[in-house]
Amino acid sequence: MSALSFAYLAALLVSLAGVATLDLRFRLFVGRDPRRGIAVLALGVAFFVVWDLIGVGAGIFFRGAPELLTGVLIAPEVPLEELFFLTLLCWTTMVLVTGMRRLLGARRVAGASGAPPASPDGPEGGVS
């Protein structure tokens, strides 16, 4: 096992550290409500692990590039790194969602001073 074996895991950990920093610094998700945030991450990762296992079971996808992986498996064809990848996917999604809610909410408050209360969907409700 060479240093390269940790290449993918290291990339995931660096990415996770960045997302966690944003989360905790701005108290967006886990940094805002740790128990609820961790519950969402755990449920999300469990959901995606089941999806992975079914995909692997059906022979749709499989791991490759063994030189970039630690070789530790959590299930057949499912490397340890996949848990970190799925956590990164879930955490990134929630930091972006809560971050955008914060940004648009702050803009709405700033723009609505003296104006009647915004509708439940807010002024941008018709965009999507």
Binding site: I60, F61, R63, G105, S128
Partner: protein, 132 residues
Amino acid sequence: MTYLLIDLPFLAVAIVVAAVAWVRGRRASRAAWALAAVGVLVLTAVFDNVLVGTGIVGYDPALISGVRIGVAPIEDFAYAVAGLLLLPALWDLLPARGGGGPGEASVRAVPGPAQRPESTPRGKRAAGEEAP
């Protein structure tokens, strides 16, 4: 069983949970969600192209549609879409700590004192620290 067929039930679960959160009265900003969705999909395209390009993940060509974004199979994006539907909905549906109600736009008041008892060892921070 193709990749597309396997994606469908998981997308359906995510849609149902998102619909429940919607019906339960959460009317979070759709613009915020749309902007986050663009971000997640772009990041997925970049990350997945690296994963497929380096060969960390491979696919049985007989079981995928062959439609790709770069080298990433389009079916992989179902993970990102399902996450975008499921995860904010779970966040909004699960009770918030500290009596502030769920999510950024509270619709449910949690009765009782400002701090609910911590029943799991996961709440590591002092509850008084939470001031959204």
